[in-house]
């Protein structure tokens, strides 16, 4: 304390005590405000996106030549029967009106019913969404962990053997289609070294450990593409950042090396990697179709594929709507994360 108040002789600002108290709340508040603004903006952008994408989705059903009335009733139906059936399905109304009605009830949680099984679409989706989400979230976690570990190590050891290996592996992984990765993993971990199940699904209630063992291979195979991209972007971003003056600044202050890399370099170098991760989210959800087929998982991708091949339009529309919703929510979260990471980015366009 004796070293303090050097300037007090010069008669500047009054004691710092009162000011220091409010410092403990001030920055926190602005941080929350920034987050709220970013989240609000992201959601505002999502509204027209939701309208456009659902409209496209709905038009898809309208464009299809599948007439559920004749599909359901079969070839022996009379024209009068078909007309009555069309009325039941609401197909006699103009397309735009049908879209608005569909959107309105979708916003209330009603996605209609399957043309064939008559099971409410919302119910089928609710049954299958947990499967897809757990695989997608698992894949996301694996991608983040693998991508961060290898991206950061490669950046820190620039030009070393690890860096070169990471570069080669990520370039090769970028050429592997998801189904080949899945098959390769099954071949290795279920056939050659049988340690994990080659497919199927058990709910978490059957035991967390068992659930995880069924989840692992699908998640890993779905994550590889994203992990490679994250590692590559993180390596580039961090390699640039590590040459910045503020890294020297942090070193001069005597901060330990791990702290400089994980706090100072990572924060500024992670932007592109986070953005790329955001771009991968739709692929993690959409790519689940492949994984669900190869590993025989009862997920939403499997539901969509079966429904689409059978011409069950309401199911396809509902499943697409839900996936779009998940995508929009996750991209809003990514935007918020980006703003939090790089406040200086506010100045950029």
């Amino acid at each position: 304390m004796t070293t303090l108040n050097v300037r007090d002789a010069a008669g500047r600002v009054a004691g710092p005590t009162a000011a220091a108290d409010s410092a403990s709340t001030g920055p926190v508040l602005t941080a929350i405000a920034r987050t709220v603004v970013a989240l609000g903006r992201a959601l505002l952008i999502a509204v027209p996106v939701l309208l456009v994408s659902t409209f496209i989705t709905f038009m898809l059903g309208g464009l299809t030549e599948q007439d559920p009335a004749s599909l359901v009733l079969g070839d022996s139906a009379t024209p009068a029967d078909v007309a009555r059936m069309r009325e039941v399905f609401g197909l006699d109304k103009p397309l735009l009106l049908r879209y608005l009605l569909w959107l309105w009830s979708a916003l209330h949680g009603d996605l209609g019913s399957s043309w064939f099984s008559k099971i409410p679409v919302a119910q089928s989706i609710a049954e299958r969404l947990p499967v897809s989400l757990s695989v997608a979230v698992g894949a996301l976690l694996i991608a983040v962990v693998l991508g961060c570990v290898f991206g950061i190590l490669a950046a820190v050891r620039q030009g070393g053997w690890l860096d070169r290996t990471v570069t080669v592996v990520t370039s090769v992984l970028a050429t592997v289609p998801g189904f080949i990765a899945a098959i390769a993993l099954i071949t290795v971990f279920s056939l050659l070294v049988p340690v994990l199940p080659s497919g199927g699904w058990v709910p978490p209630s059957a035991g967390l450990w068992k659930w995880a063992s069924f989840l692992l291979l699908p998640s890993v195979s779905l994550s590889l593409d994203a992990a490679a991209d994250v590692a590559r972007q993180l390596r580039t971003g961090m390699a640039d950042t590590l040459h910045e003056n503020y890294i020297v600044g942090a070193q001069v202050r005597g901060l330990p090396g791990w702290r400089i890399v994980l706090v100072h370099a990572l924060r500024n170098g992670a932007g592109p990697a986070v953005a790329v991760l955001g771009m991968h989210v739709p692929r993690l959800i959409g790519g689940a179709v492949i994984v669900e087929t190869v590993f025989a998982l009862p997920g939403i991708g499997d539901l969509t594929k079966t429904a689409a091949l059978g011409g069950d339009v309401p199911v396809v529309q509902g499943a697409l709507l839900v996936t779009i919703g998940v995508v929009l929510i996750s991209s809003a979260l990514v935007n918020v994360l980006l703003v939090k990471l790089r406040p200086a980015a506010r100045r950029e366009i």
Binding site: V13, A19, A20, A23, P27, N245, R253, G254
Partner: protein, 292 residues
């Protein structure tokens, strides 16, 4: 007068100056050699002695090796540049032999530095206050709240108005003079004995420059901080330093008490520097004015 002493005699002169004041040597650099990866040597055997509590100036044009000497002392040479010979000892401890982690621990607590262009030495994505508090937490071990409180106090002590406001600002929201004060606050938080100021005031407005220099003088007076001031500006050196070392092409060509070197320069290069300063400096204009 025409004698141009080699670096050995120059150093002896500096050592004498230190000896006269009777203070113990804080930092001692002996025969420091620095080379680039391709083998070319850029610093050729520099000798420096910095007595505790003194202010030592390093002067010379850019590329003369003064900044690399500082970086070598800090143990933060750029990638591909290495110390290839000589010794750097701080209070008798040989630094060049220490492992990197140990040297990192010395920075901040034993020696610290501020540079030109303060904005680039702060993380653009973290508020300046949080960065200051981080140093307090890591180097002194303060708890989160205590670090925040102390950081605001320090900002205030550095003469920053509205320290709480400054605390929550990002680097791009503050002026160069304010940032340099923040950086000085960061560098002295862990009470180092030696502060290296490498062109720390070069890019600042003249009035701001004077304020920052005054702050450094106060820190030296009140805390006994030892200063190593690197500048190409003789005015700064003459105002701040007890002794001065003149760098040229990676060697010290002349060293001695500032007053003596500036009044009676022995090396032609020093004379050239002083002449240039006089010819283009503000003193000349003022002198002409007063003669008229």
């Amino acid at each position: 007068m025409s004698v141009s002493p080699d670096s050995a005699t120059a150093v002896r002169a500096a050592a004498d100056a230190a000896g006269e004041s009777g203070r113990e040597t804080l930092l001692s650099v002996r025969g420091l050699r620095v080379s680039v990866a391709d083998g070319s040597e850029v610093v050729h055997g520099v000798d420096l002695d910095i007595p505790r509590g003194s202010a030592v100036g390093l002067v010379g044009e850019s590329g003369s090796g003064k900044t690399l000497t500082c970086r070598a002392v800090l143990g933060l040479l750029p990638v591909g540049v290495e110390v290839t010979g000589g010794e750097i000892s701080l209070r008798g401890t040989e630094l060049t032999a220490l492992p990197a982690a140990k040297r990192a621990r010395l920075r901040g607590t034993d020696l610290a530095a501020v540079f030109q262009d303060p904005a680039s030495y702060l993380n653009p994505s973290i508020t300046v206050g949080a960065q200051l508090a981080e140093v307090l937490r890591v180097k002194i071990g303060l708890a989160r709240r205590a670090a925040r409180y102390r950081a605001v106090e320090l900002l205030h002590a550095m003469g920053l108005r509205r320290p709480t406001h400054v605390y929550s600002q990002y680097p791009f929201e503050l002026s160069g003079g304010m940032l340099q004060r923040v950086l000085i606050a960061m560098s002295i938080t862990a009470e180092p004995e030696l502060l290296i100021a490498d062109e720390a005031t070069t890019a600042l407005d003249v009035t701001v420059q004077a304020e920052v220099l005054e702050l450094l003088t106060e820190l030296r007076r009140d805390r006994g901080l030892t200063l190593m001031i690197v500048s190409h500006d003789l005015a700064v050196i003459s105002q701040m330093c007890d002794t001065v070392h003149v760098f040229r092409d990676g060697s010290i060509v002349e060293a001695g008490p500032t007053r003596r070197v500036l009044r009676v320069p022995r090396h032609p290069y020093t004379r050239e520097l002083i002449e240039n300063h006089e010819r283009f400096g503000i003193d000349r204009v003022r002198k002409q004015r007063s003669q008229q």
